[in-house]
C-alpha cells in the first residue's frame, strides 16, 4: 500500500466528529464507562484531570512529536517501560481529543487488585485489561482477542511490548509478539514507537517520593508490518525503531570525562 493511500486512509468521518463540540459521542459504544453511573463518570473525569496535572507539576512532562503529528489516526503507541508512572506520562501529553479514544493495554492482575485500582484502570484510563497469568484464563481464551476487538472498534492503544517493567541496565528488554500480531492483523494500523525518558530516575522502583526532573515523551515515525514479514524480523525492526526514538540516540556522543583517569 502506498504512503499516500495510507495517509488518506484516515477516516474522515471520525476526524470531523473529533472537531465538533459533541465529540463525546464518538466514544460511545466502545467505552465501558458508558454503562457506569454519572457520578462515577464525573469522578473518573476529575481523577484523569488530577493525574494529568500531577504529571505536569512534578515532571513538567512534555511531548516531542518527532516522527509524526498529534492527529487522530488509529494508532498503537508502543513504549519502553521502566516505571508505573509511564502510562500517566503518555496519557498526560496526548491531546484531549486523542486521549479520549486511546485505550492502554494493561495487566488485569495488577489493575483489578483493589477497588481503587479497578476504578483507575477501568473508569479513568478505560484500559483493555489482559490477564498475564495463563492459569487465570478460561480454556481456549485468547488474550489477544480483546485487543483485536478494541482495535476493530476503532480504538487506538498504548502498549508496553516489553511486558514487564525494565529493571535491567539494558535500554530495552526483548519485545513480546503482541505488537506484531496487531500489525499483521491490520496492515494499515500505524505502530508508533514512543520513548519515555528519565522516569526510572524520577521514581526508581520501590521509592514513593518522586524527584522532580523533566520527563520527555518522544513519538517516533509510524511503522507497519510488511507483507509477509515474519515475527522476528519485525520485532528486530521495532526494537531498533524504539531505540532510535530515544533522543539520546540522536545526540552527539558524550565525551569521556574520565579518559586517563582509570586506576
Amino acid at each position: 500500500m502506498s504512503l499516500t493511500k495510507r495517509l488518506n486512509g484516515l477516516s474522515p468521518a471520525r476526524d470531523t466528529l473529533a472537531g465538533l463540540p459533541n465529540a463525546e459521542f464518538s466514544r460511545q459504544g466502545s467505552d465501558m464507562t458508558d454503562q457506569s453511573p454519572l457520578y462515577r463518570r464525573l469522578a473518573a473525569r476529575a481523577f484523569g484531570w488530577g493525574i494529568q496535572m500531577a504529571a505536569h507539576i512534578v515532571t513538567a512532562v512534555r511531548a516531542d512529536w518527532h516522527g509524526c503529528e498529534p492527529i487522530d489516526n488509529q494508532r498503537v503507541y508502543f513504549a519502553n517501560h521502566t516505571s508505573n508512572a509511564d502510562l500517566p506520562m503518555i496519557w498526560a501529553v496526548l491531546p484531549p481529543q486523542i486521549r479520549r479514544k486511546v485505550r492502554p493495554v494493561a495487566a488485569a492482575d495488577y489493575w483489578l487488585k483493589n477497588p481503587l485500582r479497578a476504578f483507575i484502570g477501568k473508569d479513568v484510563l478505560n484500559a483493555v485489561l489482559i490477564d498475564r497469568r495463563p492459569e487465570a484464563r478460561a480454556e481456549g481464551e485468547n488474550p489477544m482477542q480483546d485487543i483485536l476487538d478494541a482495535l476493530s472498534e476503532g480504538a487506538s492503544l498504548i502498549i508496553f511490548p516489553e511486558g514487564l517493567r525494565n529493571m535491567t541496565e539494558e535500554k530495552l528488554m526483548p519485545l513480546k509478539a503482541g505488537i506484531y500480531n496487531m500489525g499483521a492483523a491490520m496492515p494499515d494500523l500505524e505502530l508508533v514507537p514512543v520513548w519515555i525518558e528519565n522516569l526510572n530516575k524520577i521514581m526508581p522502583k520501590g521509592e514513593v517520593v518522586p524527584v522532580p526532573l523533566i520527563c520527555t515523551v518522544t513519538f517516533g515515525a509510524p511503522m507497519y508490518v510488511g507483507e509477509g514479514e515474519d515475527k522476528d524480523t519485525f520485532l528486530a525492526r521495532a526494537t531498533q525503531a524504539l531505540l532510535e526514538t530515544d533522543p539520546d540516540y540522536r545526540r552527539p556522543s558524550r565525551s569521556l570525562p574520565r579518559e586517563g583517569a582509570t586506576a
Binding site: 517520593v209 524527584v211 526532573l213 523533566i214
Partner: protein, 312 residues
C-alpha cells in the same frame, strides 16, 4: 517607592508595546504566511516577555514575601531543568530529594528570616559537605566525583546564586530604606535588556563570532553593542538605585559583563549535553535557565559589591 515602581512598570509596558508593534509589523511585512521561524520566534519571545513582566511586576507590587516566593519557585524550576541533565545513580534518589526539598526551601527560608551569616554559607559549606556524606553512605562509588560535583554545581547555580536576587531585600542601605525592591527591578532590567540588545545588535550587525563552538549566535558586534547600550540604560535609571550616575554606570557594566559570560558558561554546558534549550516552559525562550542564566551570574556579584560599598 510605589510611585517609582509604577513609573518603571509603565515604562516597561510602553517598551513592550512598541516591541509588539514592531514584531507584528515585521510579521505582516516579511512573513505573511507565518512560515519564517526567526520571525515566529521573535514574536513568541515578545509575548512571553509580557507574561514575565506581569508576573514580576505583580510580585514587586505585593512586596517582599511575594518576591522571595517567586524566586524560590524560579529556583525550583531551574533546578529541575539542571538536574535532568546531571549524572545520577539509582541510589542518589534521597540525595536529590534533599537537594530539592531541604536545601532549596532552606536557603529561601534563611533569606526570609534575614540570617545573612547562614544563607551566605549554607549551600557552599553545609550542603557541600553534608550531601556527599549522605551520598557516600549508600555505598556506590561509580562516577562518584561526577555525581556529587554536578549536584553541587546545580545547587550553586540554581539555588544559591539565584537566591541572591531576593537577598537584595535584606541589605540595609542608609537613605534607601524601603526601596530595596527597586534594586531588584534595576538588576533584572539591566541584565535582561542586555540580553535583548545583544540579540538585536547581533541580528542587525553580527559578523564575528566570539565562541563559535560554544554559542554560534554570540558575536562581538552583539556583545559590545548590547553591553554598552544596556549599561547606558542602567546609568539612566540611576534614580531608582542608591548609586550616583558614575557608580550606576560601573555597576551596570559589571552586571552586563557577568550576564554575558553567564550565558556563555551555561551554553557550554548545554552544548556538551547536546541540547539546544534547558526546557520548554517559556515559549520562544526555552527553559527557565535560558532566561535566568545571566541574572544568576550577575546577582551575587551585584549583591556583594553593593553590600561592601553601600550597606550599613
Amino acid at each position: 517607592m510605589i510611585s517609582d515602581l509604577i513609573y518603571l512598570l509603565t515604562g516597561t509596558f510602553i517598551f513592550l508595546g512598541v516591541a509588539t508593534g514592531i514584531g507584528q509589523a515585521i510579521a505582516w511585512r516579511f512573513d505573511p504566511n507565518d512560515t519564517n521561524p526567526t520571525v515566529q520566534n521573535l514574536n513568541a519571545r515578545i509575548n512571553a516577555w509580557w507574561m514575565m513582566v506581569i508576573v514580576l511586576g505583580a510580585a514587586f507590587l505585593i512586596g517582599q514575601g511575594a518576591v522571595i516566593f517567586l524566586f524560590a519557585f524560579l529556583s525550583f524550576s531551574a533546578l529541575r531543568e539542571f538536574m535532568t541533565l546531571t549524572t545520577k545513580n539509582r541510589v542518589d534518589h534521597w540525595s536529590l530529594l534533599l537537594a530539592f526539598f531541604v536545601a532549596l526551601p532552606g536557603q529561601y527560608y534563611l533569606i526570609w528570616i534575614n540570617w545573612y551569616g547562614l544563607y551566605s554559607i549554607f549551600i557552599p559549606v553545609y550542603v557541600f559537605l553534608l550531601l556527599p556524606i549522605f551520598t557516600v553512605l549508600k555505598g556506590e562509588e561509580k562516577d562518584f566525583l561526577i555525581r556529587i560535583s554536578e549536584t553541587q554545581y546545580a545547587l550553586m547555580i540554581c539555588v544559591f546564586c539565584a537566591s541572591h536576587v531576593p537577598a537584595l531585600l535584606t541589605l540595609d542601605i542608609p537613605g534607601f530604606e524601603g526601596r530595596n525592591i527597586l534594586m531588584i527591578a534595576w538588576l533584572v532590567i539591566v541584565v535582561q535588556i542586555s540580553d535583548v540588545l545583544q540579540y538585536v545588535w547581533g541580528k542587525l550587525l553580527g559578523k564575528h563570532k566570539i565562541a563559535p563552538r560554544i554559542s554560534p549566535s554570540k558575536t562581538w558586534e552583539g556583545f559590545i553593542g548590547g553591553v554598552l547600550s544596556a549599561t547606558l540604560i542602567g546609568t539612566a535609571l540611576f534614580w531608582i538605585t542608591p548609586f550616583s550616575p558614575i557608580y550606576a554606570f560601573l555597576m551596570a557594566l559589571a552586571c552586563t559583563l557577568m550576564g554575558f559570560f553567564g550565558g556563555l558558561v551555561m551554553s557550554a554546558i548545554k552544548r556538551d549535553r547536546g541540547i539546544k534549550d534547558w526546557g520548554h516552559l517559556i515559549s520562544g525562550h526555552g527553559g527557565f535557565i535560558d532566561r535566568l542564566d545571566s541574572v544568576v551570574f550577575a546577582a551575587p556579584i551585584f549583591f556583594h559589591l553593593t553590600r561592601y560599598a553601600w550597606a550599613a
